[in-house]
């Protein structure tokens, strides 16, 4: 179980200085949520592990470009997201990420954000996640896996904030519908 205090001081400065132990701490903190995010997008274990490794190496190589050290997590997920997009391009699936909502952005009154899933709903939850269009799935995963803010998700996916809000709204609505249908 990944339990890390959100306000924990990350050794980003030491990592910038090239200290291996600092990198180990950073990677240990993010490796599992990063892997979950990548796997649920590409749906292949080996590809996911490869992307995690590529993201780690890219992070080490480009850490100098990170200005705000508190945004390390979002920055690392942004690298991984771009690697996923490159993967889709290789597989000619990049069009899947361009899918947009047909409807205009709704009012964002998504209600309480406390999702609790019963054991019998878990399989349905995973099925729903897999059926969601990639853009919605990406936003929903970032929201669930690391509880990134809408602004952070916007930066990670390089998508306008309004689009992120819209995608998250529709993804949550679909999820709520599934869970409510099962309650009935």
């Amino acid at each position: 179980m990944l339990v890390v205090a959100e306000r924990e001081q990350l050794p980003v400065q030491q990592a910038k200085a090239g200290e291996p132990e600092a990198w180990s701490v950073l990677f240990r903190r993010y490796q599992l949520p990063l892997y979950v995010y990548i796997f649920e997008l590409v749906r292949d274990e080996q590809t996911s592990l490869d992307i995690v490794q590529e993201a780690f190496i890219a992070a080490v190589r480009h850490i100098g470009s990170l200005r705000d050290e508190e945004k390390f997590g979002g920055w690392l997920f942004g690298i991984a997201h771009q690697k996923c997009v490159q993967c889709w391009r290789r597989e000619n699936r990049a069009d899947a990420m361009r899918e947009e909502m047909a409807e205009s952005p709704p009012d964002f009154d998504d209600g309480p954000d406390q999702w609790l899933i019963r054991r019998e709903q878990e399989a349905e939850f995973m099925n729903l996640l897999n059926e969601l269009p990639l853009p919605q799935r990406s936003v929903l995963l970032l929201h669930f896996v690391k509880d990134f803010s809408l602004e952070q998700i916007s930066e990670i996916t390089e998508t306008p904030l309004g689009t992120v809000k819209s995608r998250l709204h529709y993804a949550k609505r679909a999820l709520r519908k599934i869970l409510e249908d099962q309650d009935e």
Binding site: W23, F56, R118, E122, F144
Partner: protein, 127 residues
């Protein structure tokens, strides 16, 4: 009851050992990489020695080509050989006298001072 995160993590319980291996591999790569060391001015100059030598040679060529080889228009006279103003004045007067001797008319005209105005006017009046 589980949160979505817990459900997701449950699906990937076998991943951590593989992720640990990847992390160890990447971190080992960082440890093996040469640490960035501080560069002194001497090191920087040493690394740029060929560039500096090239630029120096280029500037030497430019300076050689831009030197003015024409003789100087101003004669360099030693200070102790410069004649005094009195000598220069005497020399000029002597020079002028010699020039005037070469031309008699000029000498006459030059040597005959004009008469007084009171002496000239009556003669002109007679004419």
């Amino acid at each position: 009851m589980k949160t979505p995160l817990e459900v997701l993590l449950q699906q990937h319980q076998g991943a951590p050992p593989k992720l640990d291996a990847i992390r160890a591999k990447v971190v080992a790569g960082i440890a093996c990489a040469p640490a960035p060391k501080s560069i002194s001015w001497l090191d920087m100059a040493r690394s740029l020695r060929w560039h500096l030598a090239g630029w120096s040679a280029a500037w030497v060529v430019v300076m050689v080509l831009s030197i003015d080889h024409s003789p100087s228009t101003v004669a360099q006279i030693p200070r102790d050989k410069i004649p005094s103003p009195q000598k220069i004045w005497a020399s000029l007067r002597e020079h002028r006298r010699l020039l005037l001797e070469d031309s008699d008319a000029a000498v006459v005209e030059a040597s005959a001072p004009p008469g007084r105005r009171s002496e000239i006017e009556p003669a002109q009046a007679e004419v």
